[in-house]
Amino acid sequence: MQDFIDNLIRSWGHDPAAWPWTQFLYLAFMGAAAFIVVNFAAISAGIFSWAERRVAARMQSRVGPNRVGPFGFLQWVADAVKLLLKEDLVPAEADAVLFRAAPYFMMVGFACVFVCLPFSHKLIVADLNIGIFYILAVTALIVVGIIMSGWSSNSKWSLFGAIRSAAQIISYEIPAGMALMIPVLLAGTLSTQGIIRAQGGWPWQWFIFDNPAAFAAFFIYFISALAEGNRTPFDLPEAESELVSGYNTEYSGMRFSYFFLVEWGNMWVMSAIATTMFLGGWQLPGLSPARFDALTGGVAVIAEIASLALFAFKTLFFVFVVMWLRWTLPRIRVDQMMNMCWKYLVPASFAGALFVAAWMLLVHEAPWLGQAMRFALTAIAAVTVAAFALRTLKNLRDTGDKFDFTSNW
């Protein structure tokens, strides 16, 4: 973004390094970018809330919201308006200052992530050279917000939910961070755009298929991200059968909606990080980043939109998988959750990082081995997906269910 602003200033006939207003122009653009990404996060979270209810209804053979707008699409707007108009209650025994401040901490921690999250070839707020590390760091603010909300509510359910959530997020940050270090090792940079550029457009050029450890790291990251986002099967902090609603029990109105905005918005964040780190990001098949940079005119605009669409498609697919998991898997117990993290995911992620370091040395000596492994892993994945699709089609045939997208919807 800085290059863009510098060029803009040059086109006005000033030197960016000497012109006194340069830094204020930067700040203005930063404000504008912040406005755009926060609104993107809020609107996408709203749309996901509608999508999740529709997907859930479909999976449970129900109808789901279908009254407001076509297919009930505007339901999320109606819900948001309702929440805005509701009274903002603060319990009498609550710690009013912290109680009011907690949702903002969560919102800040969540919105800061979007600074380094790429959308397409050029569309990124700031391509920091410590990008992925920055994303890991700012999400820590969400934990502080959760603990504050739980403690200040002065309610058993909130406190239990907050303690569970904080323990869960801090524990799963370790395997998530280590799993994300594997693409960093492979790419040799922490910048999110740099990691995408180190991959390629075709599936066998993605980092997920680079070697067996990277393949495992993708799943370690995905499981840990589910746990960090408090999604089923790790939604223990919000377990409604035990804790009413967890740390947000005492909240109402707009502040309540912030918690859910963060939860649904996190689905985009975790899927976009997975796409960036493991699945080639916005890379178009057959168009190398160097040639992409060299494009000009209308072709460049078309390629830009195509890369944006491809990135959004990959990300939205994983958002759907997250919803799918929620309505498929039951919730696990607290001790199972901790066991899974500390006894399996943490050692596996550390072993994976060591394996990748050794693998890179090996591939450096014998490049054909790396190529063979990429093609083999891609073929295994393709066969698995094909087998899954065939099996699903067979099941559908046997039960007589149809792809009935008209009558129920």
Binding site: A17, F24, Y26, N129, I130, A137, A140, V144, I147, I163
Partner: protein
Amino acid sequence: MAEAVLFYLFAAGVLAGGSQVVLRRNPIYGAVSLVGCFFFLAGIYVLLSAHLIAILQVLVYAGAVMVLFVFVIMLLNLKEEELGELRFTFWKVVGLVAVLATAAVIAWRALGPAYPSTGPARDNAILLAAEGFGGVKAVGRTLYLAAVLPFELTSLLLLVAIVAAVVVAKGKI
């Protein structure tokens, strides 16, 4: 110009957060304002073009250390009345005066002619994530080449700290 504005903003945030730690009796307020203080401190590190340290500051302090503090405060469930009333003993006043005098001497020395008041020229260093100075590469090279022995010893120290924390807090395993 913008750099000066940002510096005064961050410095005010740091000192406001730090003074809350002193003034607030309730430790949970102290801990939360300390989180804010460390965030503004990360901003100051960015102004000094130490981007990696700024991120480490947020990751380690806001993400781990302060969460640990808040956890312990919540576990002990400290209330205002359990903290005892505020008392100004003779030695406390002496300590306060000594501390303020020390800080004043440091500040007076800092303003003296010994240190340069202007730094190396860096155009728009605030917003520029420079690849070299302060980046991951430079710090990593120094850390793993010049300081590799202390680095390895630190890992040993962390192991000792983990074992010690578990043994002390849990009593029997």
